[in-house]
């Protein structure tokens, strides 16, 4: 690295320009990664938080928005109950409602109707769990909108009154709408259209005969990968694993594909720009390299030195860019779904550096082809 470091210092203007471009690309990569994580959280954190392995939808349900479209009955549920390799099978109801609090705060809620004592019951950070027929456990970030324990949410049109009894641990959203867990019985009352204005009561529930839910949530036995397709046939369902089900949440696929495409383009641009820079740089100093080779420098030494130079440039300016990106990300307005997560940012930084190095490597390989004979005779 003897030569590499001295060249970096000597041609600092050129390297600083290149470094700035790398840093700017890193900033963009970090911001996109944050936005991507934020959107994913906003879209499916409610699903991610569920301990389910897979979901069985009614057969033939359209994939997009499948959760609120699908309707399963007790026969389908029973078929899954008896299936091999399935530890738990529980009905779950999903739909999205609008509501307003007594203070006039308007909220959108994704209702997750679950068995209060079932495996889907959420852990709460404050308050009580799902149980009371008129009680809901809502997504933690709703606190920032002024929702508290005891807040009564009145659902639009139905005028049903639900009381906040607890908050989930961390964010739980589905399709960018905050999740409210409630007992499946209460959900059925709403879904059947049998609710009456005011808080739902036990009597209303007892007089209802509505054996339906949206999906069957499945939990596989430990270490078993059940044969979903076989039970699907007999139960008349279509099963998606938890991650497959992300795509069944509104807008998820469209958002993540768009962002992934932009990120892939950025990585390609990084590799190409760094490659182009080092191509020009190598050509610029090809006479010097010919001199070094004539002096007896091995190709290996020269390649190692040039790659070290590229690595120093990439690592230092990517670090600067990532730091700037994280700083900017922390200052993002709350309205932007933005989440700084270590893992995707580390991956994005490594990819920027790795692909940049690849571009540089393709460029500096030409060092090996420079003929030391060029050192003799006329200048340049």
């Amino acid at each position: 690295m003897f030569l590499a470091l001295r060249e970096l210092r000597f041609a600092r203007g050129r390297f600083a320009l290149m470094g700035t471009v790398i840093a700017l690309i890193s900033v963009l990569v970090v911001l996109l990664s944050g936005l991507s994580s934020g959107l994913v959280n906003d879209g499916v954190s409610g699903l991610k938080a569920l301990p389910a392995t897979a979901f069985a939808f009614d057969e033939g349900t359209m994939k997009d928005n499948a959760f609120s479209r699908s309707v399963v009955d007790d026969d389908q549920l029973a078929a899954w109950h008896d299936a091999d390799g399935i530890a738990e099978a529980e009905p779950m109801g999903v739909n999205i409602v609008n509501g307003v609090t007594a203070d006039g705060i308007q909220v959108d809620l994704t209702l997750f109707g679950i068995e209060p004592d079932g495996f889907l019951a959420p852990a709460v950070s404050t308050g009580r769990g799902v149980g009371a027929v008129d009680g809901i456990v809502v997504s933690e970030p709703l606190r920032e909108q002024g929702i508290e324990l005891g807040t009564v949410v009145t659902l639009d049109r139905l005028d049903v009154e639900l009381t906040v009894v607890g908050f989930t641990q961390g964010q739980a959203t589905f399709g960018h709408v905050d999740v409210a867990y409630l007992p499946l019985d209460t959900w059925r009352l709403l879904a059947a259209g049998a609710s009456e204005p005011g808080a739902p009561t036990r009597q209303q529930i007892d007089s209802l005969d509505f054996p339906f839910a949206s999906v069957v949530a499945l939990l596989a036995e430990d270490g078993v990968s059940p044969d979903f397709a076989a039970t699907d046939d007999s139960a008349g369902t279509t099963t998606m694993t938890l991650t497959e089900a992300f795509n069944a949440s509104p807008g998820y696929e469209a958002e993540t594909l768009t962002l992934s495409m932009i990120q892939i383009f950025l990585y390609a641009i990084c590799a190409l720009v760094v490659g182009a820079f080092f191509t020009v740089w190598t050509i610029q100093r090809s006479h010097d390299i010919a001199v070094l080779r004539a002096m007896g420098a091995s190709s290996r030494y020269l390649l190692r030195d040039s790659l070290a130079q590229a690595a120093i440039l990439l690592v230092s300016f990517t670090a600067i860019g990532v730091a700037a990106g994280v700083g900017m990300g922390a200052a993002m307005p709350d309205a932007m779904p933005f989440a700084l997560e270590l893992e995707p940012i580390a991956l994005a930084s490594c990819l920027t550096i790795g692909l940049g190095l690849l571009g540089a490597a393709v460029a500096v390989v030409r060092i090996a082809r420079i003929d030391p004979l060029r050192a003799l005779g006329g200048q340049r």
């Binding site: 010097d288 004979l373 003799l376």
Partner: protein
């Protein structure tokens, strides 16, 4: 340091052809030459006469189509490409036109790099620069040095690994008369003082007075010049 009985450079019946097809030229035509340690040999001739080709085969940068080249007893054509590179590193010093120094390195670092390439991290750069009268410019980069100063640093750099053969390519091409004399004088001093054999290619007939022997190259053939200075 160098064995006086072994010739530093021995070229025998070397033939080198360059180019392809119709444009094929015989750059070296049956060239034979012996240089002893401590000798400063000048090869003069018009451009395109094959002077650079002679340097190339002597320095293991090119291989003759036929004939042999021995440097300090080692047959160069017997070496693989990487072995030739290593051999060049330790046994042959090159001085290029106008020094051909690396623009990013100070005079001291030019020498240190040459040493490091050969795995030698302990170079007395001060003494070496002092011996070419450049100690006072040790911290300067090539851009801050005059043509003559660059050439002096180039000579010091070529001597870092104590080569037995110094190949010098048109050292006075970019220099005025006075500096040309100084540089060639310096080469002569080094040859006579340390016993390194020097082959200098030039078309500057003014500086030949400092050389022990002069040969002339015309159309790839080497001979004694018609007009000896």
């Amino acid at each position: 340091m160098n064995d006086v009985t072994t010739s530093a450079l021995e070229v025998a019946n070397a033939v080198l052809e360059l180019g392809d097809g119709d444009s094929r030229v015989r750059a070296l035509d049956d060239v034979s030459l012996t240089v002893m340690p401590g000798e400063l040999l000048a090869v003069v001739g018009p451009s395109g006469s094959g002077k650079s080709s002679l340097l190339a085969i002597s320095g293991a940068l090119a291989r003759p189509d036929s004939g042999t080249v021995r440097v300090h007893g080692t047959e160069l054509s017997a070496l693989s490409k990487s072995a030739a590179t290593r051999f060049r590193l330790r046994n042959i010093g090159f001085v290029f036109q106008s020094g051909n120094l690396l623009p990013s390195l100070t005079a001291t670092d030019q020498l240190r790099l040459a040493g490091r390439l050969a795995g030698n991290r302990r170079i007395d750069t001060h003494a070496l620069l002092d011996s070419v009268g450049m100690a006072h410019r040790a911290g300067h980069r090539p851009g801050q040095l005059s043509g003559g100063e660059r050439q002096r640093v180039g000579i010091a750099r070529a001597l870092v690994n104590a080569p037995s053969l110094l190949l010098v390519d048109e050292p006075t091409a970019a220099l005025d008369r006075r500096r040309s004399h100084e540089v060639v004088q310096l080469l002569a001093e080094r040859a006579h003082g340390s016993g390194v054999a020097v082959v200098m290619v030039t078309h500057d007939r003014d500086v030949l007075e400092h050389c022990d022997r002069v040969l002339e190259m015309i159309d790839g053939r080497l001979g004694v010049p018609a007009l000896q200075h």
